[in-house]
Amino acid sequence: MSGVSVKELEGLAGPATVEGPEWLEPVRRAAMERFARTGFPSAREEEWRFTPVTPIAQETWQPAWTREPVAAAVSREQIAPFVFGHEEWATLVFVNGEYTPELSTAAGLPDGVLVTSLGEALRNGDEVVRRHLTRYARPEDNPFAALNTALLRDGGFLHVAGGVELSAPLHLLFLTTADAAGTVTHPRNLVVVERNARAAVVESYVTLAPGARYWTNPVTEVVTGANSWVEHARIQRESESAYHVATTQVEVQRDGHYRSFSMAMGAALARHNLNVRLADQYSEALLYGLYITRGEQLADTHTVLYHDHPNCHSWEVYKGILDGRSRAVFSGKVVVQPEAQKTDAKQTNRNLVLSDHAKVDTKPQLEIFADDVKCTHGATVGRLDERARFYARSRGLPAEVADRLLTYAFAAEVVDEVAIAPVREELDRLVFERLGAL
């Protein structure tokens, strides 16, 4: 799409910009100008070759905030299925993009932990936000991130001060209702875990309207401070008619440990850009993911690991299960800079295709400019193992039970890597349920 004017975008940005801090305005304006110049990416661009975004670009999306607020119509009972049985966890709930304090909880947090909506933090002139917000997810990297920056209004904000441990996870819950139909939201999250601190964050995108057509365009920035430890689970269960284009931008400082699990099972078109910069020595990133698609769904994962310094370690395992006429795209880039000697990076992408009409495009890309490194990658696309099927059937399991069991097992291997136990158990249940219905 071309011909978006800055003026039009300003119109979309709405009154929140007025309340935003002064420092943000030039950033926002630059992002707007950037997007106005580039427009939506075209399929001619390598990064978007397999994921045509024309269905998003051609539609007119109304900013969700211009609609009547509906948060009051959502009850605690309605969000209960999405909180992993832990409603006592600090939870920020956003209904159709709007922060909903009545459904949120942030009680009993230790000193040094701040959990609040980003909108609130911006209005309060939070210093941490000023230092970090928009520093990592750069508008020039991706038009969708530019648009998010141009139009950001709200999202979750977590700050964990140095040496502090957040014992229970923070849950950022983005919920859509039937009123979201035809709207776009640009959730913006910021997680800053300082030196020697520890935290777990769950980011969920769920819906009460399984058939609704809307667009979610989130950006999450995560700062993993020196010698800190961050667990990040991301669960995308949007309506299967919705669009979800997300960027997660992670910075890992010296001796920092970042671990993520990304589950994608919703949306008609889902794209997740996960960019992790190992920004100093001895930092580490473990990235796990699972996408399960059916019907006409498209799930696209683009990850980039930047090894900028020596002695860093990255480990990545993504798996996919595809049925129907669905498609998956996996692009895993690992960039090892000349000074990043002793890099240890391993990447695996395995896809299980259950139908003749499903399709996977998987593309590992190693860009290695250092000579003393250990980097491997592997990608597979295949059907269920016939030997395993026969073995299971020979023990009395009917063919369809055997298939379901083996498919579940394929997923379970990576779901087992979810570090937060209640989230792991819930994902396990979701996978089981979904495979029964594939």
């Binding site: 009395g396 399991l397 379970a412």
Partner: protein, 253 residues
């Protein structure tokens, strides 16, 4: 119990079984011996219903039913069991889950009530003793990362839990050290009953010191060329498979 009549089977268009006939009665143990490539494992796979093998002629009746007309899972549900020569690894599926699923599918097919996980654990405890294993093994993925000996022992554990009427042990002794061999053999002997039967396929006589067969059959080039009592195994061990080939040739002329 099992009656094989003139069984011919091929894989990839190549005939491997060239007319096998064999009858097994309840309470019996039969040993099938023969050199590599004689068709021993093919026979086992055909009986289990492996889709890669095509039966071109002959019949197999199992408990009065046409075995060859049944799906692999129906054979298991009817009480047929194959202990695989190369047990398959199932990463991500725990032994406990797999065994209970198999056990309950078989019960379900017979109109019996399924066991819940607590009751199943009780049953398992007793069966684990048979193979001298602790309960830890149940939380490991089926055969994943198991040693050769552990895989074979796991086959015997499945056999013990599923309690088939007829079990075929396909070279269960290969790759086992003497202690593991004894454990496996003792397990099988304890599972012997007047109403079940075993077919033990082996290349060597060694296993038959521990599992004593009622009948021994020697396979060569897809046919049973000799049958006899347990002493045939010893004779075979002493004289080697060349002796069988000579006998087979003599027979052919």
């Amino acid at each position: 119990m099992l009656s094989i009549n003139n069984l011919h089977a091929s894989v990839d268009g190549k005939e491997i079984l060239k007319g096998i006939s064999l009858t097994v009665n309840p309470g019996e143990i039969h040993a099938i011996m023969g050199p590599n490539g004689s068709g021993k494992s093919t026979l086992a796979q055909v009986l289990a219903g492996h889709p890669a093998y095509h039966v071109t002629d002959g019949q197999v009746l199992f408990e009065g039913r046409d075995l060859l007309d049944m799906e692999p899972e129906e054979r298991a549900q009817a009480g047929f069991f194959l202990a695989f020569q190369y047990p398959v690894e199932l990463p991500g599926v725990t032994n406990a889950y797999f065994l209970r699923a198999a056990y309950n599918e078989i019960r379900k097919s017979r109109g019996e009530e399924e066991l819940d996980s607590m009751d199943f654990l009780d049953l398992l405890e007793e069966k684990l003793k048979l193979v001298e294993w602790g309960p830890e093994i149940m939380q490991r993925a089926v055969n994943a990362g198991f040693s050769g000996g552990e895989k074979k022992r796991n086959e015997i554990l499945q056999l013990a839990v599923l309690e088939p009427r007829l079990a075929v042990l396909d070279e269960t002794d290969s790759g086992l050290d003497i202690d593991a061999l004894r454990t496996v053999a003792a397990g099988v002997n304890k599972l012997r009953r007047p109403d079940n039967a075993f077919i033990v396929i082996t290349h060597y006589q060694r296993l038959l010191n521990y599992i004593v067969p009622d009948r021994v059959h020697v396979l060569s080039d897809g046919k049973v060329v000799m049958s006899g009592g347990k002493e045939l195994a010893l004779e075979l061990e002493a004289k080697g498979y060349e002796w069988v080939d000579a006998q087979a040739e003599a027979l052919a002329q």
